[in-house]
Symmetry: C2
Subunit: 307 residues, 2 copies
DNA sequence: AGCGGTTACGAAAGACGTAAGGATG
DNA sequence: CATCCTTACGTCTTTCGTAACCGCT
């Protein structure tokens, strides 16, 4: 067992191997020979006295121990990165790779603009913008920041609320022809277009005075894609609960109507999650600040206090 | 500039040099030659491109940059330590050095017992138990856990409440001869022995129903030592506000009286502070758990929820 | 003069890449 | 059979300790 091999380098190699699922790939990335990368991994295993990856000739799989280590290793490396940035004599700019995972719909509209602005404000940042609504295995995926609507299913991450989604009940004027004006009683008779996952088949609303209203709508159509919901609602296939930021333009030009202006579905939190490390690299803290600030300007997204 | 020297080792050497205030001393500690330790420091400075310590031939002084780095370096090293412990194949026991700074009075009585019990429960831990009521410069001192009554003057630390000090107004039966029973009105006529720092010369009490009572007592004696207060109060030099944990025995055997049983001075928080690192080494998390649990058993110290 | 930090030098350790070996889909 | 990981080997980098050098107190 060697004594002098840089411990952080060992972790870097390990993390890269885990990300790429390949020793030779990681070696290419890091400018090492395959042999070196392989040795690094062995060295790490030998130091910890446990197997991190199970090797079958043509594939690598993290062991449970490896999976556990992966998260902590990333956290530590982030810590080093931040330390290096904070204490480098030459004032370092915001730079380096930054991988963000965000929800599809939000991420391809407003957030995409914000992300693009951020990148252009910091040209030395190399931004990876992955849109994905599914829970990700943060530790394995190697991302720096995960933006998610609603609960973040990972207790090991630091969660920070960056906004809230105001949701309202909308429908096209056509659909409403026979219902005008819509009352609380009549709304339960409307067909609804549901955006999956749709919890329990019930819609729960609350009005400005805190009163509750719940009913089980007739679902005319269900889809997991918000744009499909949108088209269906425009055509009059049903009413729907949609985020204000998504339908604001339609409300303005009259293609959709907020049919129960006093009533709102529960707000959803927009959370940003990242690894706990003593400090964050500038590119991440800067990105979070940027997103938080910009998101607050989007109609129907109440901002939370920056911390 | 070398490329392969272990980055964490560099930081370790730097931290040790800063703690010892001497390169040769640190070298001895770490089992290196003076030359190596010196080179490590130079190497670190060269990598960061700034001067960490100002050397005059016979003394070392941290520069501001060095001071800043010190804290983050410790945090990172703690992170490595925790990672190594968490992921070592051979199940690691609670072990290693642990330096705690605690308040003098609390630290030489109940807390000393708790600390001793902890050490005996974990013989492989080498415990340094420094008692000090003054604010310490955490980053420089190199301690792992700082227990302090009241506010912890360091925003970079993680604070955790481990208990609260209930304080009551006590006096010796002798002093009370002419005042028995003591009423709210009469108490302001009593001489008081003050425990410095004594805020603003005023005593503020609150009763069980939330009513306030404040007065400016005549101070017969002021000292920063709680044992001196204790002796003076026993002899009848005045009443005093003292923690319940400190006077419980005297109350039980009648040498002191809780003269206003319905009234209490504001509770003081007992806080534990430590460096933010992703995870804590077992010896620290284990110590915190032990202290929190044990402190809850001391009369007059309300425990907070463990997290 | 003594103590402590820095620099020079030779020796030893070890990390790297190349290349060969072996296993799997 | 192509790909990918591991192992062996020779080279070369780099680090280490010793020891001489230099500056303060």
């Amino acid at each position: 067992m060697s004594k002098t091999l840089d411990r952080l380098s060992l972790l870097e190699t390990f993390v890269r191997i885990a990300e790429r699922g390949s020793i030779s790939g990681a070696a290419r990335d890091l400018g090492l020979s395959q042999a070196s990368a392989s040795r690094h991994l062995q060295e790490l295993e030998s130091r910890f006295g446990l197997q991190l990856m199970r090797r079958t000739t043509h594939s690598l799989a993290l062991t449970q121990a490896g999976l556990d280590l992966l998260r902590d290793a990333r956290s530590l490396l982030t810590g080093w990165d931040a330390l290096r940035e904070t204490h480098s004599g030459t004032d370092s700019a915001v730079r380096g790779p930054l991988k963000v995972v965000a929800p599809v719909a939000l991420g391809q509209l407003y957030l995409a603009d914000i992300a693009a602005d951020f990148q252009m404000a910091h040209p030395e940042v190399s931004l990876t913008w992955d849109l994905n609504d599914q829970p990700i295995r943060f530790a394995e995926v190697g991302c720096d920041c995960w933006i998610r609507i609603g609960r973040v299913p990972d207790e090991t991450l630091v969660i920070r609320e960056i906004g809230r989604v105001e949701r309202l009940v909308v429908a096209s004027p056509g659909l409403l022809a026979g219902f005008c004006p819509v009352t609380q009683d009549l709304v339960s008779g409307l067909p609804f277009v549901a955006l999956s996952p749709f919890e329990g088949g019930r819609i729960s609303l609350r009005d400005t005075q805190g009163r509750d209203l719940a009913f089980e709508p007739r679902i005319s159509m269900a889809t997991n894609n918000i744009f499909a919901v949108h088209r269906a609602v425009l055509k009059g296939a049903g009413a729907a609960i949609l985020p204000r930021w998504f339908v604001q333009a339609d409300l303005d030009n009259g293609r959709l109507t907020d049919i129960l202006p006093a009533w709102r579905a529960a707000e959803l939190r927009i959370n940003a999650a990242y690894l706990p490390a003593g400090r964050q690299p500038k590119r991440l803290s800067s990105f979070l600040r940027c997103v938080t600030d910009q998101v607050a300007l989007v109609p129907g997204i109440g901002a939370s206090e920056p911390r």
